[in-house]
């Protein structure tokens, strides 16, 4: 009772891959020119071409928030946008917020409140929280929880994330 599933041949041969070209990106205050195809996402451009692997890939479909970066101060999922669309934009990744020796207040609060375990969603959480601070919309615990809910954390560090963000919000 078997059934044959035969694929349909590609008519006229396979479409050639799209060619690459120079793309100028302003990342963390520095301008660099990357050789990219137009189909390269901002996330892949950051990780595979600019070698800024702090920005994480968790789903590549805008479902988890691990790839959150700041574009002109606004938080976006970098997997859902193409690198070529951001030539004139100011892109900030986790590497641009602070370094291990000079952590930003949010980064330090995340460490102090143990707002992560494995650390994989953390750069996205922090970029998202930074964007939330820029939005000036987080006035209560409920608001922080709701507005940070686009960032999944499978380790379940949400309580620490809330407390870390709250600490920085309260100091503002």
């Amino acid at each position: 009772m078997s059934q044959l599933l035969t694929s349909t041949p590609h008519r006229g041969g396979l479409p050639a891959p799209v060619p690459t070209g120079p793309v100028r990106l302003h990342i963390n205050g520095q301008t660099q020119t990357l050789q990219l195809a137009p189909w390269t996402s901002l996330l892949d451009a950051l990780r595979e071409y600019a070698h800024l692997t702090g920005t994480k890939k968790g789903c590549d479909h805008g479902q988890c928030g691990a790839c959150t970066v700041l574009v002109n101060g606004r938080r976006i999922n970098s997997c859902l946008t193409l690198a070529v669309m951001h030539e004139d934009d100011d892109i900030t990744t986790i590497e641009g917020l602070g370094t291990p020796d000079h952590l930003s207040p949010l980064q330090q609060a995340f460490v102090d409140h143990d707002a992560f375990q494995c650390g994989y969603c953390t750069p996205g959480q922090i970029c998202s929280a930074q964007g939330l601070l820029n939005e000036c919309r987080a006035h209560s615990e409920a608001e922080i929880k709701e507005l940070m809910s686009g960032n999944l954390c499978r380790c379940g560090a949400y309580t620490g994330i809330l407390n870390a963000v709250k600490e920085v919000v309260d100091k503002q």
């Binding site: 059934q3 044959l4 709701e146 809330l162």
Partner: protein, 743 residues
């Protein structure tokens, strides 16, 4: 005053600054030179065979380097044993690209390798594969009568103990009795980090493998077995893992594929799975449980029967301990536990956080709640009446068991004494409030482990053990143990892990890392300490002359006499005066079987949960959880609390959200992505209280630690399910509890 007492305090994670700044590197982030990218193609059918892979078409695209499938995969190891990793269950392990046969949906059938990730993905999307499809079966419900006893079990599996007493007669004669079936579907680990392997090609048959794994030595064993590499030429590294929860215990096909391509192409290759492919690498199995409980007039348990049936693949007998816990959790003289598997056309299940226990715990703890109501007793009072002072499965006392304290302190914190017994008795408008509780038990285990320690003349201590860091806090607690053992500040100690060039550590799982690697680290530091004492005693006029090791202590950078702390030498001076540039020691730590043999070793917890159910909409919100845990010594209160908080989140997800839904028509998971496989988000968080119950235990291991990662999840799901019953009067026995089941 000692500033170098670190154990038990809540130090910040020592790897925290790396993780929050994006400078911790995970497996798919090693940008080695001349890297090619692989993209996996998976089967859309559940059963049948591949009849043709049209590789030649995509190989014509500029930049596509290779297509690997069963049609061209080179000769690899012949025997099953070469593919068996440390956690392989009975049967024949899955061999990627080995045959044209398809035995589960999403089975990898080809790897496309190209110069860039985008190109590999493009070519993989265009690759035509022809199949011959055969009828499949993925529905466990059709196998109710076809369960069988598993063959050879995997590491840690124990068949259920034989029945005791006369469980069937006792159940029939019981004053009150219940019988119910409980079920949950497949669940997937879904760690945030995608499975990835970066294989750096160094020379012919010489590679370094950066792999997402919970055991670098396990991956090394697998790769050397399958590809015929020597251990020296196959170094496996994992310094940070973006969550595992069991999914990384066994080597995954990502590392097989990347290694295959690297060896064939003689260049470095990275393979990263997609989120969709993360649903093809193992899961908590779809399980059916039948519980029969009965009570005597005084509320004591007269009979307890617990039987479980779960799915496995056609090729392996995946096993986990589902029902055994029920035989030790409560005092009962008439007990029957059963455990069977059924084969379906699915991939082999895989250990997922608290494997077996998380499933069995829902069965026994919801059944206990039902039994309490049938007997007219408060669920906590019912558990206290049936408290097990001994492990009746093996007829041994517990090495320590502070579950009673968990119950009492948890109940007090929660306010359980104000709970009306009657369901639907707490209402606020259209919101029904319910309170539920449950308990949990997990093994306290220790695995053989090695570690080394080296003190250099600048006063710095380097400690090595090839363990894993998947978020549990391994870097931090090992640093604490080493620093306290040799009386150093945390800043003077570096602990490194996750490299097969380091002393061998066990798999990172089972909540045994703290006990296993921790003891090895302590032993290595003690061995180093003994060398340091000898060096100190070689010095003229040493105040430590004649002292034995147990007569001295390391505190605040000094080595001093316990009975006369003024008789001290500075550690750094000892090394400098000796003329040595460094002193090193290593050690192996094994469980003390002689000491442990007479006891049953376990951690326990008690969970209290409050839910609010919208009577009109059927929506459930968890509003409060108290989780009281007795798990021996807590090494770091901050990271341990985080693990328990995470356990609550996992239990909440299992209770209300998580289910990988199988479309039996296609034999395929239909919600294989993060948008439709729901896990809790920040807005779902209740107020969570974590209580650590003081528990001393010098039998489990010298550190007195039992592990916390699994036990913290137990009880949560059942407590929430029981709270939903208390709120609504409706007993939902198939998880997750979605609103349609309450309307």
């Amino acid at each position: 005053m000692t500033q170098t007492n670190h154990i038990g305090k809540g130090a910040n994670r020592v790897d925290g600054p790396l993780k929050v700044s994006g400078t911790a590197h995970y497996a798919g982030e090693f940008n080695v030179p001349n890297l090619a990218y692989g993209y996996v193609v998976n089967s859309p059918i559940a059963k049948g065979k591949v009849t043709r892979v049209h590789a030649e078409e995509v190989l014509g695209l500029p930049g596509v380097l290779a297509v690997y499938s069963h049609e061209n995969v080179p000769h690899l190891a012949w025997f099953d044993r070469s593919y068996k990793d440390l956690l392989a269950p009975g049967g024949s392990p899955f061999r990627p690209l080995h045959t044209p046969d398809i035995t589960f949906n999403q089975q990898p059938v080809a790897l496309v390798v190209a110069e860039t990730f985008e190109l590999a993905r493009y070519a993989a999307a265009l690759l035509r594969v022809d199949y011959e499809q055969e009828p499949h079966e993925t529905n466990l419900g059709t196998k109710r009568t076809e369960g069988y006893l598993p063959g050879g079990g995997k590491l840690g599996y124990a068949p259920p103990p034989p029945p005791r007493g006369n469980p069937e007669k006792a159940w029939k004669n019981a004053t009150h009795s219940i019988e119910a079936e409980y079920a949950h579907g497949a669940q997937h680990h879904n760690p945030m980090e995608l499975f990835a392997a970066t294989v750096e090609w160094l020379a012919d048959d010489k590679i370094t493998v950066y792999d997402k794994t919970q055991g670098v030595f396990n991956v090394q064993r697998y790769l050397t077995g399958v590809f015929g590499l020597s251990k020296d030429n196959c170094r496996v590294v994992n310094q940070f893992m973006g969550g595992g929860f069991g999914s990384g215990l066994r080597p995954q096909y990502s590392v097989f594929m990347a290694t295959l391509a690297a060896l064939e192409l003689k260049r470095s290759v990275r393979v990263t799975l997609t989120r969709q492919q993360m649903f093809s690498i193992g899961h908590r199995p779809n399980t059916l449980q039948l519980l029969k409980l009965g009570t005597n007039p005084d509320g004591s348990l007269a009979a307890l029967q617990h039987h479980a049936l779960h799915e496995t693949s056609l090729f392996e007998d995946y096993t986990e301990n589902v029902v055994n816990w029920s035989g030790m959790q409560y005092k009962c003289d008439n007990v029957k536990l059963g455990y069977q598997l059924a084969q379906l056309d699915v991939y082999s299940p895989q250990d997922m956080r608290a494997p077996g226990a998380a499933t069995g715990n829902v069965g026994i703890e919801v059944a206990m709640d039902e039994m309490a109501y049938a007997a007219g007793l408060d669920p906590l009072e019912f558990r206290l009446r049936n408290y097990a002072e001994r492990d009746q499965n093996v007829d041994k006392p517990f090495s320590s068991k502070k579950l009673r304290e968990c119950y009492h302190e948890g109940a007090a914190k929660f306010g359980w004494d104000k709970r009306p017994l009657e369901p639907r008795s707490m209402r606020n408008g259209h919101l029904l409030t319910g309170w539920g509780m449950a308990g949990g038990v997990w093994d306290a285990m220790q695995m053989p482990s090695r570690a080394s320690a080296r003190l250099t003349a600048d006063g710095r201590l380097l400690v090595l053990s090839g363990a894993g860091e998947n978020g549990a806090g391994t870097y931090t607690i090992m640093t604490q143990i080493a620093a306290e053992t040799l009386g150093l500040p945390l800043e003077a100690v570096t602990f490194e892990l996750g490299d097969t060039d380091q002393p061998q550590a066990p798999l990172q799982g089972g909540s045994w890392t703290a006990a296993s690697v921790g003891t090895a680290v302590k032993n290595a530091c003690d061995a180093l300490g003994q060398k340091l004492l000898k060096l100190a005693q070689k010095q003229k006029d040493s105040p430590l002359q004649g002292a034995d090791y147990d007569e001295v202590e390391f505190v605040n950078g000094q080595l001093r006499l316990r009975r006369d702390p003024d008789q001290a030498v500075v550690l750094r001076d000892v090394l400098q005066a000796s003329g040595e540039t460094e002193v090193e020691a290593d050690s192996t730590a094994l469980p003390n079987m002689l000491k442990q043999n007479g006891y049953s070793l376990h951690s326990h917890n008690a969970v209290f949960a409050e839910v609010q159910v919208d009577e009109d909409l059927g929506t459930v919100r968890v509003t409060r959880v108290v989780n009281a845990v007795a798990a021996g010594r807590i090494l770091n209160r901050k990271t341990a609390r985080s693990q328990v908080l995470g356990g609550v989140v996992w239990g909440l997800g299992m209770a209300l959200m998580e289910e990988t839904i199988m479309d039996h028509k296609f034999g395929r998971y239909v919600n294989h992505n993060y948008a439709e496989y729901h896990i809790p988000v920040n807005a779902d968080m209740p107020d969570i209280d974590v209580l650590f119950i003081h528990e001393e235990d010098d039998i489990v291991n010298p550190l007195g630690v039992k592990g916390i990662g699994e036990v913290g999840m137990l009880g949560v799901t059942a407590a929430i399910a029981n709270a939903v019953f208390h709120a609504t009067g409706k007993r939902v026995r198939d998880l997750p509890i979605m609103l349609d089941k309450l309307l």
